[in-house]
């Protein structure tokens, strides 16, 4: 951390300053007062949470538990579910090469695509943060791609970009790399999808930008006065101050990548092709559930996915203490 000497100045009138700075003595916190305060806090907390609780119990927990139940059944939507115990899960891990392939593809997409998307988003956000000239235009320009939404137009545009002799192919040929059309090439399907995800980094970028703007300029100036170079400023000021936002974007980026569906569905026209290279887990479970009428199996897949993501989220939350710095929490 930088060793800038800063002085915290409190302005305002005399009495409130004294009250603010006064430390509470231990004997002031009495037992009865503590319990009463705790209860009041709890009541207030739940009060604030009423809307969320209704939604959580009624619209989320209920269906979640139902889907867990379904994962132990055979259910084709039309007739009632029949209990089959762990059969779905066993089949998933021992008898389904599609699932294995689907998992591999999803993992690659997550582990490669998420860091790239985050890095690109942060890079562009920092670029935009550098000067305020034309900020409105540029921010909107970078955000626009993610606005198209999940429509057939995305498929049309993206396929055109990556077609043989299309813009990407021509640009690469300029540098001597001749890959031909990416579309329909099983080896290049995953990179193409990753690039699509990166192209739609608008939301992530905007959040980074908001986070960057929140860093007081004075910290940078102080660091600069101390003789810190650009890179050192980045490491010592930007990254720590941005860490809550990085954490947020990382967590949600990973979750989102694991759950990627719409773009794959649209680009491959629902098939998961070419050669199953866009058949991510959610697309595969959707096909099994809705097209093949195997909702129980699809539910089992969904829960396996959930557990994997939950484990990763748990790990992230645990490690957060060591690298995420919340300025509101420090004293």
């Amino acid at each position: 951390m930088s060793t800038t000497a800063t002085r915290v100045i409190v302005t305002g009138d005399e009495s409130s300053r004294k009250t603010l700075l006064r430390k509470r003595r231990p004997e002031e916190v009495g037992r009865p007062g503590l319990r009463r305060r705790e209860r009041r806090e709890t009541l207030t907390g739940y009060g604030f949470l009423i809307p969320w609780l209704i939604g959580f119990v009624g619209l989320t927990v209920g269906p979640m538990i139902y889907s867990l139940y379904l994962s132990f059944t055979r259910y084709d939507i039309f007739s009632d579910p029949t209990w089959i115990g762990l059969d779905n899960y066993i089949r998933l891990f021992t008898d389904d090469p599609n699932f294995i392939q689907s998992s591999q593809i999803t993992l690659i997409y997550v582990l490669v695509g998420t860091p790239i998307t985050l890095a690109a988003a942060l890079g562009v956000a920092m670029l935009l943060n550098f000067r305020d000239k034309g900020s409105g235009f540029f921010r909107s320009a970078f955000y626009a791609p993610s606005l198209i939404g999940a429509s057939v137009s995305v498929a049309i545009v993206w396929r055109a970009m990556f077609s043989n002799d299309g813009p990407v192919d021509s640009s690469l040929s300029f540098f001597g790399i001749d890959l031909g059309g990416w579309v329909g090439n099983p080896d290049l399907a995953v990179p193409m999808m990753i690039l699509l995800a990166v192209w739609m980094f608008g939301a992530t970028m905007v959040i980074f930008l908001a986070g960057l703007k929140q860093i007081p300029k004075e910290l940078y100036e102080a660091a600069e006065m101390d003789g810190a170079g650009a890179f050192h400023r980045f490491r010592a000021v930007t990254l720590p101050m941005l860490s809550p936002v990085i954490f947020f974007n990382l967590l949600l980026g990973l979750i989102g990548a694991f759950q990627v569906f719409a773009s794959a569905y649209i680009i491959s026209n629902g098939s998961g092709g070419p050669a199953g290279m866009t058949n991510y887990i959610t697309l595969y479970l959707y096909k099994r559930g809705f097209s093949d009428g195997q909702m129980g199996y699809a539910a089992a897949m969904a829960w396996v996915l959930l557990i994997v993501v939950a484990v990763i989220a748990f790990i992230l939350f645990r490690t957060q203490r060591s690298w995420v710095h919340y300025s509101g929490d420090t004293r």
Partner: protein, 432 residues
């Protein structure tokens, strides 16, 4: 760190969820009690669902208007979606026992919905509310599942071979004169050579399951029988896929090129000069090809065995009524109108395919392409056999899997043996 307090909290949530679940669980069946007779003065509202695009939606609006001239007391609320979303929605509605009164229906879903008692048996209305005179016997039989008539075929199509005369001219090759599958392969190679790289003679026919079906029917078997038993074994399937190897490796359009033009197809992007498909796809192809191409050729598919009745008329769509409808007579009336009436024949023309009902067909104004289709179906009359059993549950999935395997064979990412074992595994999963 599993404290008692946490346990209680978790249990409280589970209890709460259970309460919600109890409310969620679908209650008993609400079996509709059909009214005794249809009262033309009764004010009734019907929900009608169909798939299609904006053009078809317009036509339906016109048809409903015409319907209301005859039956002013029946209000029809129509809703429509594109094909994939249409079925997604129907499935969700089926789970909630909330299907619309009248639905445009697809052959591949008929068995599944029928066997799950989601569709009304229209038998009581045949011959009275629903006019059966204009519908040939074999057409009516198409909509029968397990003895119940749950769908009325609205239009039919047959498998055919489309060609692109303009491209053939460019390649300097004559139209395919008919012949065996090998003859067709050779013809494709001829066209590809003549095209000099600008386009190809065709695509690998072994990628479509219907071509396998055609060959099997010529040999006297069905693709799948009523119980889901396949009419082929691993060896036969391997043989079939091998027969397309030449096209895949040499003269057919590379799969990569096909992928690039998705969502269009190779034929309607003028990349291939021929395509085996259902005969009602012609209109879509012409639209996709654009103003430069004004006509298509339509001839019969290659012959496996001389004289075999391997072709058949498949319903390109049917109309069905929900088993939960509150107004079965009114619904049947609407179905009759949409299938048989001259007004609907005139309005829809061949938008839904060639009308199956003679009265509708007579009133339909046939543009050149539709006339061509009609003539084609007349010309193959000798080759038409009985319709196969209504597709088994899961047929759609298998059809799609077959298509995907076909593309992988084309990519070269799979060998024929691998393909065969994968397809048979999928059959076990879907049918087993």
């Amino acid at each position: 760190m599993f404290s008692k307090k946490r346990a209680i909290t978790v249990m409280a949530f589970t209890a709460g969820a259970a309460v919600v679940l109890a409310g969620c669980a679908s209650g008993g069946n609400d079996a509709a009690q059909p009214a005794a007779t249809f009262d033309p003065d009764e004010e009734v509202t019907l929900d009608l669902a169909f798939w299609g695009n904006d053009i078809r939606a317009d036509l339906y609006n016109q048809a409903i208007e015409a319907f209301n001239e005859e039956y002013p007391n029946i209000t029809v609320n129509s809703t429509f979606l594109a094909f994939p979303e249409f079925w997604e929605k129907r499935q969700t509605e089926a789970a909630g026992k909330n299907l619309p009164d009248v639905m445009q229906f697809d052959y591949s879903y008929l068995r599944q919905y029928s066997q799950n008692n989601l569709l009304l048996d229209l038998e009581p209305y045949l011959g009275n509310i629903i006019d059966t005179e204009p519908l040939p016997e074999n057409i009516l039989d198409i909509g029968v599942v397990d003895g119940k008539t749950t769908g009325i075929a609205t239009s039919t199509n047959a498998w055919g071979l489309f060609t692109n005369p303009k491209l053939l001219e460019t390649a300097g090759v004559e139209e395919f004169e008919g012949g065996s599958w090998e003859d067709y392969s050779e013809w494709i190679a001829e066209v590809t050579d003549g095209a000099g790289g600008a386009f190809w003679g065709g695509s690998d026919f072994s990628g479509r399951i219907q071509n396998l079906e055609l060959q099997l029917r010529a040999e006297g078997k069905d693709l799948f029988d009523e119980d889901g038993q396949p009419g082929f074994d691993e060896e036969r399937l391997a043989e079939f896929w091998e027969s397309g190897a030449d096209i895949r490796e040499n003269s057919g359009i590379p799969q990569q090129r096909v992928e690039e033009v998705v969502p269009k197809g190779a034929f309607d992007s003028a990349l291939t000069a021929s395509e085996l498909t259902w005969d009602n796809f012609g209109a879509g192809y012409l639209a996709g090809l654009g103003a430069d191409y004004t006509e298509l050729g339509l001839i019969e598919p290659p012959i496996t065995e001389e004289g075999a009745k391997d072709l058949y008329l498949k319903p390109s769509m049917l109309h069905s009524v929900s088993a939960n409808t509150e107004h079965p007579e009114a619904a049947a009336t609407l179905v009759d109108f949409l299938v048989n009436s001259p007004q609907s024949g005139e309005i829809f023309g061949t938008n839904r395919g060639l009308p199956a009902s003679e009265t509708a067909l007579a009133a339909a104004e046939l543009d050149p392409l539709s006339q061509q289709v009609k003539d084609y179906e007349a010309s193959i009359a000798d080759r038409l056999g009985d319709a196969p059993p209504v597709p088994i549950v899961g047929y759609g999935t298998l059809e799609e899997k077959f298509r995907q395997i076909g593309t992988e064979l084309n990519f070269g990412t799979m060998t024929v043996d691998e393909a065969v074992s994968e397809f048979f595994t999928e059959m076990d999963v879907v049918l087993g």
